[in-house]
């Protein structure tokens, strides 16, 4: 496997190239209303070099979007500094653009006006900015749509407008925050191809690209370098150079090998794959009693995955599986994680194998399934065990959901805490461990 770590490679080959943007010992934490701090990103070093396409890959809750916003200067880090070329940065990067996940277009402006807006902010005259905007719209294949409003366009077209608006400012670094995840599979694939074509043929007025994504294949397909983030708190787990020639073939052995490898890194949270600590290597995360995080999957999804696996003889290669299901591997990840957490499957080196418990679960009838799920959930899922114990401790077997929200708030951001509780409630209801009354917001122990 030809996986080299970036710092080592750079020290050997290049004569210390100057990074465009560099985060030094950057960290982010939020203060909860109750006064305790939540660390979202542990102290991290990350540099973006010219002529590179960097993908920041991580599961939800790893702080990858936060990292992007720190690097662009949209939000300040809690500690550490961001450097632009060779000076410290206060406020926004001087020349920066973001392609947003949900496009962030202004619906009351036409396509042309949307693309012209950043140029107007620079103080360019009407004729000049119209010329440049039209040229950029031609580049991204939107000629003829200048006077359309965003709501008249399909998702793919909207994101093209997003690209045009970002590129028209000729940014040094083009930042992209999950740019393809709101699009359907075919549109996304098409747009990825066009982006790559613009990038490799140097038709893009930008020196580097930094993309946040949760999609492993997307990262391997596009990037020269993949930085894998872990969560709780967010930190760099691996920093890999991708030296596959372009255009990359998704079916080629080396492509699959790399996807499998990243998969392994993502699915084995306890193993650190970060490069050996050099002068600039990320500091190992502080010893922090991380609270186990529930993957956001539905019990039905877990059952479905197990059934498919058993159909295929109980064992399959992850990537192969995703390919057959016409799913992005990244989309399968929560279901895999959940099944693995419940020990219904066993993941090793990118291969998935159904455990005896998983086999029993998949082959059982509905009622037995529920009881097997309950058994596994209470054994392996900390949050569900906690909820169950707390409810049992009450004489009337009921507690408000806020009680658990408060516990979760200490470990997760508020949004994530909410999602955690939602998933737990979903699982708990399925397994008939407890019931939830949305009106009163209370959890009730299910009588058996």
């Amino acid at each position: 496997m030809r996986l080299r770590t970036i710092p080592a490679q750079r020290d050997q080959i290049m004569t210390a190239p100057e990074p465009i943007v560099e985060a030094r010992e950057v960290e982010k934490s939020y203060l909860q209303p109750e006064g305790n701090q939540i660390e979202v990103i542990a102290p991290t070093n990350l540099a973006i070099y010219p002529e590179s396409f960097v993908a920041l890959l991580g599961p939800s809750g790893s702080g990858k979007s936060t990292m992007l916003r720190i690097l662009t200067g949209l939000i300040p880090p809690s500690a550490g500094e961001v450097r632009w070329h060779d000076g410290p940065l206060s406020g926004l990067l001087p020349n920066v653009a973001i392609v947003f996940q949900n496009f962030a277009l202004f619906p009351w402006l036409t396509v042309l006006e949307n693309v012209e807006a950043p140029l107007a902010a620079m103080g360019q005259h009407a004729i000049e900015r119209r010329k440049r905007a039209i040229k950029m719209l031609d580049t991204v294949g939107l000629d003829g749509f200048e006077t359309a409003y965003p709501k008249e366009l399909s998702g793919g077209m909207k994101q093209r407008v997003g690209f045009a608006r970002a590129l028209v400012v000729e940014p040094d670094v083009l930042f992209m925050d999950e740019p393809f995840s709101a699009l359907d599979v075919l549109t996304a694939e098409n747009l990825r191809g066009e982006l790559l074509e613009l990038w490799t043929s140097k038709k893009m007025p930008t020196r580097a690209i930094f993309m946040v994504t949760h999609n492993i294949e997307e990262a391997v397909l596009l990037a020269d370098r993949i930085v894998v983030l872990g969560r709780n708190p967010g930190r760099i787990r691996a920093d890999l150079a991708v030296d596959l020639p372009r255009p990359r073939d998704r079916k080629s052995a080396r492509f699959l090998e790399l996807v499998d490898h990243i998969y392994k890194v993502l699915t084995q949270p306890d193993v650190e794959h970060a490069p050996p600590s050099g002068p600039r290597a990320p500091r190992t995360a502080p010893s922090y009693p991380a609270y186990p995080m529930l993957p956001h999957a539905r019990p039905g999804g877990i059952a479905g995955l197990l059934e498919i696996l058993i159909d295929r003889g109980g064992k399959d290669d992850l990537f192969h599986l995703a390919d057959e299901l016409v799913m992005e591997v990244g989309d399968l990840l929560p279901i895999i994680e959940a099944s693995s957490l419940l020990q219904f499957i066993h993941v090793q080196e990118g291969d998935v194998e159904v455990t005896p418990e998983g086999k029993a679960f998949a082959e059982a009838d509905i009622l037995t399934r529920k009881s097997l799920f309950k058994e596994a959930a209470l054994k392996h899922v900390t949050l569900l065990r906690q909820i169950s114990n707390a409810l049992r401790a009450k004489s009337d077997g009921t507690l408000p959901d806020d009680f658990f929200s408060d516990i979760l708030d200490e470990h997760f951001s508020q949004d994530e805490a909410e999602r955690q509780l939602q998933t737990a409630i979903n699982w708990g209801r399925y397994a008939e461990i407890f019931d939830y009354d949305a009106k009163s917001g209370r959890l009730h122990l299910t009588e058996s």
């Binding site: 996940q101 619906p107 807006a117 009407a126 004729i127 709501k151 008249e152 400012v169």
Partner: protein
């Protein structure tokens, strides 16, 4: 500045007919003449108690007076709502007291503002009709402004984070943020609230145009005072004429103002996909097709907007150099303003205290008893209103906005909801 064919919005415009232009031109002229005539009355000598005629012939003039008052009051309300909402939405320190103040102010009935506002305005313009007129306008203003301020404030607060980020990352200046993000986003809310506010204005018109203050009788020429005079004289025919005029004006305003505005504001709907039915207005289409207005837009409005945009862009570019000094200056100005406001409030409080100290116990008891009765009436009205407006039971999925506004204490998992509903 721009060649006409270069502007994209021109492409879809069909050439209008010349009679449209003629119509628009004569309408504009009539409006100008009307305002001029009315303004002459305003600047005339102080006649607090005008003789109100019950003749039908006087009615058009009175109606014009009332509509003008409403228009000026509405303009003031809009301006105030924009400034107040903006400050409250962006300065957390100010927000903490500005929103409660707004809530208290909107609960105070218009009529309790009446004596103070009137006397103050007459004191400012002792020899001109302007004082009484301004007083009436301010009273209508107090009935209109609060919900508009709330609407603008809450719109600003609910702008999606990604749009804010886009505006920041692409360095929108103050002007661009206002005209490309904040005003468009809040336009629909403001339009609907404006309609409510103007309706409230009609409601208070009668009280504001004719009232007795102590021993002084105030009567302003207008539709409200016409109706009141007719009612107290028992002149049924005049009442019917007055009502007819009022209903006519309201219908005309709806057709000539609100419908075109609603149709125009539809483009500010924050939606990802086009809705099938968009509101339309024939008048708006007529205006949009008029060559004269197109010319005006091309030659006056667009160049002006362009100049403003460039002016603010350059200013924002220049401001980068000494950020420390400016911020320091601004924070000092803010502190000075806060001190001035506090001092004013303290002074007013002192006076109120002295005034209250002059009350006897019996008077105080009367006031408290009166307040108690009023409270009971308000609660009764609220109960009737609630019984009318709130459905007997919440549907299983309450509206999204409502769910979002609820506190964390009653959050519910949306994903599991459908399962609950299935048998």
């Amino acid at each position: 500045m721009l060649k006409p064919q270069a502007h994209p919005s021109m492409v879809e415009e069909r050439p209008g007919r010349s009679w449209t232009d003629l119509l628009i031109f004569s309408l504009g002229l009539a409006l100008f003449y009307g305002v001029l005539t009315l303004a002459r009355g305003w600047l005339g000598p102080f006649t607090p108690a005008a003789e109100i005629s019950r003749s039908v012939r006087a009615l058009p003039g009175y109606t014009a007076y009332s509509v003008l008052r409403m228009a000026v009051a509405y303009g003031l309300s809009l301006l105030f709502a924009l400034v107040y909402g903006y400050v409250a939405a962006y300065y957390p320190k100010a927000e903490r007291f500005m929103i409660p103040v707004l809530d208290i102010m909107q609960s105070i009935p218009v009529l309790s503002f009446l004596p103070g506002v009137m006397l103050a305005m007459i004191a400012v313009f002792p020899h001109s009709q302007m004082g009484v007129e301004l007083g009436a306008i301010l009273l209508i203003f107090t009935g209109q402004v609060w919900n508009m301020a709330f609407s603008f404030y809450s719109s600003l607060k609910s702008i999606p984070a990604e749009l804010h980020e886009a505006a920041r990352i692409y360095r929108f200046n103050v002007w661009q943020r206002l005209t490309r993000l904040e005003l468009p986003f809040s336009a629909l809310g403001l339009v609907w609230n404006s309609m409510v506010s103007v309706a409230t204005g009609w409601f208070f018109l009668m009280a504001c145009e004719m009232f007795v203050l102590g021993k002084r009788d105030f009567r302003l020429p207008g539709l409200g005072s016409y109706l009141q005079t007719a009612a107290s004289a028992g002149d049924t025919i005049a009442i019917l004429w007055g009502l007819g005029a009022m209903i006519g004006v309201i219908v005309l305003l709806d057709q000539l103002v609100w419908r075109p505005v609603i149709a125009w504001a539809d483009k500010f709907k924050f939606e990802q996909v086009e809705s099938s039915i968009a509101p339309r207005s024939a008048l708006l289409e007529l205006l949009q097709r008029s060559p004269a207005l197109a010319y005006l837009r091309r030659r006056a409005v667009q160049p002006l907007a362009e100049h403003l945009m460039l002016f603010f862009a350059r200013r924002a570019g220049r401001r980068h150099s000494p950020p420390g000094r400016l911020a320091e200056l601004r924070s000092w100005a803010g502190r000075a303003l806060a001190v001035a406001v506090l001092a004013g409030a303290g002074y007013a409080l002192l006076h109120v205290g002295r005034l209250v100290a002059g009350l006897t116990w019996a008077e105080l008891r009367d006031v408290l008893r009166g307040a108690g009765y009023t409270l009971l009436r308000v609660i009764a009205a609220l109960a009737i209103g609630a019984a009318w407006a709130i459905p007997p039971e919440w549907p299983s999925a309450p509206p999204r906005a409502w769910r979002a506004s609820r506190s964390r204490s009653c959050r519910s998992p949306p994903r599991s909801r459908p399962r609950r509903c299935s048998p």
